[in-house]
């Protein structure tokens, strides 16, 4: 009996965010007949695709016991680098040559830059042992400055119709950003749940010392997590840039908080060791539905902020009240 009641709790807990989501969808649909349409559904999914990409990485980092405040800045830099390389070749004066990137080359370069910065985060955290919050806070500032330097403060626009595909085209009836984020979600659900690497992420976040003593190379695992997250931020940057047909130097400011909110609403604990990508996707959807719903219901932008704050609190409060017994 004990066991089955526990299983029930677990089951509810797993589907709790889903429940919140469904209730929200029902409520908004009752208030606005424009909400529950296929077009709006795709719209919401397209809008959250950037946050989904960021939050996949954020989820893994948080499960591993860390945090990343630099995702928004990395997004901006990666987008700007790709856009810059698409628009104009890079001269290498001392070799007397110019590097002219293909579209694919420019995109790979953007993702590589994201991974490099993520790797740098990881190095600061694992080698120099700077706490993740501080290390990525430093990176937040550095990467933003680099973006400004690279763009000289100007957006880089007019990136061509091939590049626009990533952000704006449809494929088999679904927007390409939704395909990209959806495939990444599937990939990383498998990675986190079914591979050694994923298992180790949970282990490291659950008990770092024990993981080390069990023979895991804790530092390498963390380094990879941050590197991958950097790459995912870069992908988000490509989508955002393509959607705007412009790399904005101020893109992504404040996105770290949106992303953390999605992760937390999705049930991942900030103390590490627990959580899931699937939950995070629900978290992103809840935020997306909320954003869209508030606009459709014509709620004033000022109230929107209040309501959003309350929803964050409520989503987590439900979770905490349910778990109350366990952690005291």
């Amino acid at each position: 009996m004990h066991k089955s009641s526990k299983d029930l709790v677990k089951c509810i807990s797993r589907f709790q965010s889903l429940l919140v989501l469904v209730l929200m969808v029902i409520a908004i649909s009752l208030l606005s007949d424009r909400f529950l349409t296929a077009a709006n559904g795709w719209n919401i999914m397209r809008q959250i695709s950037v946050n989904v990409c960021l939050s996949i990485g954020m989820t893994m980092i948080i499960i591993a016991g860390g945090i990343d405040l630099s995702v928004g800045s990395i997004l901006a830099l990666a987008g700007a680098v790709t856009a810059g390389l698409i628009k104009s070749p890079v001269p290498i004066p001392w070799l007397g040559i110019e590097l002219d990137f293909t579209l694919a080359g420019a995109m790979i370069a953007g993702i590589a830059v994201g991974m490099l910065l993520g790797w740098f985060n990881g190095q600061m955290i694992t080698r120099v042992r700077i706490p993740p919050f501080v290390a990525t806070l430093g990176m937040l500032s550095i990467a933003r400055g680099l973006t400004m330097l690279w763009t000289k403060g100007f957006p880089i626009t007019g990136l061509g119709s091939s590049f626009a595909i990533i952000g704006t085209a449809n494929f088999l009836g679904a927007p390409v950003p939704v395909w990209i984020s959806g495939l990444l979600v599937l990939l990383f659900i498998v990675v986190t749940k079914k591979t050694r690497f994923g298992r180790y992420i949970y282990a490291v976040g659950g008990n770092e010392q024990a993981s080390r003593l069990s023979g895991l190379d804790v530092d390498r695992i963390k380094l990879w997590v941050y590197t991958i997250a950097g790459g995912l931020s870069a992908v988000a940057g490509l989508i955002a840039t393509s959607r705007l047909d412009s790399a904005q130097p101020n893109a992504g400011i404040g996105y770290e908080l949106d992303s953390i909110a999605a992760v937390v609403i999705g049930g991942t604990s900030l103390s590490g060791g627990q959580g899931s990508i699937w939950g995070t996707v629900l978290g992103c959807l809840i935020i997306g539905v909320l954003n869209s719903g508030l606009v459709l219901l014509d709620v004033s932008p000022f109230w929107q902020q209040v309501v959003k704050g309350i929803v964050i609190l409520m989503a987590v409060a439900i979770d905490r009240l349910r778990n109350r017994g366990e952690d005291q």
Binding site: S214, Q274, G325
Partner: protein, 517 residues
């Protein structure tokens, strides 16, 4: 006991191992040899360096000086992983499991079964884990999340993990400090069969009887130095104690008969519900303790003793029912602060997690519970705090380099004394001690027993929870037994003996003796 032949090369040895921590010389040129197929005991007072030595031999720490030989070959382990590759494992003193992973996931951590797809094969892991656990404790479900298990079960999972690594050297650091007697028996059988397979085992324990029972040789450390290695068969308990302490110990238990005064603490059918399930952790317990009396509480792991003390101390106000009275007056104990206000003091079971603020200085810890004592004009006074701490450091002879030292660097026994000081500074009339000597060495134990006796003389009412029978028999005036949350028996000091206590502690006993309690 088959004593390994001294001519064979040891599997693993340490030569001149030195380990310095900032401000502490934990190991001072220690030599240690471990033979295949032997169970090698390691003993010494708290802080003697046992854990440190094991950690170095198993790669979890690097020595400051000295070398490690594996099969006579010089090796260097940069981390635990490299030692694990050589199949050298530790069952750690501090539990080292991942709380949110399942039993099987923990047992296979770092050596996952990976299918042809590159993905983890959870099914076969669970299966193999079940087989492994069948030897140890079949009641553990491989899929259960580790943090839902009892401490003892978690210890078993650790052992299963070492077995699964097919170790040829296993270090066990106080493996029985948290498991029940029946589990101890299982463990010993297992150790015996491992030995027969030629696996070398290092066994650390403060429990001399265990060491004498299962080891082949015993190495004694004192203050980070190697003292001697004895062949168990020819060794007397007293010899070991003398080597550990560096002198003969007088009687372990001091017990003066004290004047039993009037009733101080009284419980009337106290019960406590579990936060999670609906079952009762403590069920209908009534008792009474008088001034100048020590009431011992015995029970197996999970009998509900800790919960009982915690309920009295006001830690679970919402799930507790029944009444607590002090000096015949019923008190409403909503919080530890309220309990302390009524003169109740608790020395908790886990001093690291519950007893001390490890990052705070010794003096700050001592004054934490009764900070009014060191205030003058609403400000904390350095001078008063120092005086206050000094008096306790002297009274309980706490060994610390300085009273401004962080509590974390003290040895277990001294940490326990700091907790005691903190609690005593509230001038309690009732003192609740939960496993007051768990994990502390024999000398520190003696001092604590003496202190308990002294406090009793001063007229305190004392409740001691312990899993060690000799200890309880040595210090209690009366002993109550608990099983599955219920009080199953109560004996006067004269009636009590190991047999009847144990009988009352085992489930199934209470049916015959309800009238007794």
């Amino acid at each position: 006991m088959n004593v390994a032949s001294p001519t064979a090369t040891p599997v693993l040895s340490g030569r001149g191992i030195v380990k310095k921590f900032p401000g502490v010389l934990a190991l001072d040129r220690v030599d240690f040899d471990l033979n295949a197929g032997e169970v090698h005991g390691l003993i010494g007072e708290n802080g003697a360096g046992k854990t440190t030595l094991m950690h170095i031999l198993a790669g979890a720490l690097q020595p400051t000086e000295g070398e490690i030989l594996l099969d006579g070959q010089l090796v260097h382990f940069a981390n635990a992983r490299q030692a694990l590759k050589q199949r050298i494992c530790i069952v750690y003193q501090e539990l080292n499991l991942i709380p949110y992973l399942s039993v099987a996931e923990n047992v296979f951590l770092g050596r996952e079964v990976v299918g042809t797809t590159g993905l983890i094969d959870a099914k076969s892991q669970n299966l193999r884990c079940k087989e492994l656990l069948a030897l140890l404790d079949p009641s553990i479900d491989p899929r259960a999340q580790v943090n839902t298990l009892r401490v003892g079960q978690q210890q078993i999972v650790e052992i299963a993990k070492a077995l699964n690594a097919q170790a040829r050297v296993i270090f066990m650091d106080e493996p029985t400090s948290a498991i029940s007697d029946s589990e101890v028996e299982v463990l010993f059988k297992l150790i015996e069969s491992l030995r027969r397979e030629g696996i070398a085992i290092v066994y650390v324990s403060h429990k001399l009887d265990e060491l004498l029972r299962i080891t082949d040789r015993i190495t004694v450390l004192r203050d980070g130095k190697y003292v001697d290695t004895l062949v168990t068969g020819d060794t007397q308990q007293e010899t070991i104690v003398r080597l550990m302490v560096g002198r003969d110990l007088s009687d372990m238990y001091v017990q003066n008969v004290s004047e039993i005064g009037e009733e101080v603490l009284r419980l009337d059918s106290l019960s406590q519900r579990s936060d999670i399930g609906e079952h009762l952790l403590v069920e209908d317990v009534s008792l009474s303790v008088a001034a100048g009396e020590v009431l011992g509480i015995f029970g197996l792991m999970g009998a509900g003793r800790t919960e009982l003390l915690e309920s009295i101390f006001g830690l679970h106000p919402k799930s507790t029912s029944g009444s607590v009275s002090i000096h015949g007056k019923r008190c409403d104990l909503r919080s530890p602060a309220a309990a302390m206000g009524h003169g109740i003091g608790l020395v908790p079971e886990d001093r690291k997690k519950q007893g001390l603020v490890m990052g705070m200085s010794v003096e700050n810890n001592i004054s934490l519970s009764n900070i009014g004592l060191i205030e003058s004009y609403a400000l904390l006074s350095r001078r008063l705090e120092k005086q206050h701490a000094e008096s306790y450091i002297k009274q309980l002879s706490i060994k610390t380099p300085s009273m401004r030292q962080k509590a974390s660097v003290l040895s277990g026994g001294n940490q326990q004394k700091v907790v005691l000081s903190r609690v005593l500074s509230t001038i309690p009339r009732v003192l609740l001690l939960d496993e007051p000597t768990r994990g502390i060495d024999i000398n520190a134990k003696r001092e604590i027993y003496a202190l308990v006796d002294q406090l009793k003389q001063q007229g305190l009412a004392i409740v001691v929870v312990s899993s060690e029978l000799p200890e309880l028999l040595g210090i209690s005036d009366r002993i109550m037994v608990m099983c599955e949350g219920r009080k199953t028996a109560e004996f006067s000091r004269e009636q009590a003996n190991e047999e009847n206590l144990m009988q009352a502690a085992v489930p199934g006993f209470q049916a015959e003796t309800t009238n007794y309690a």
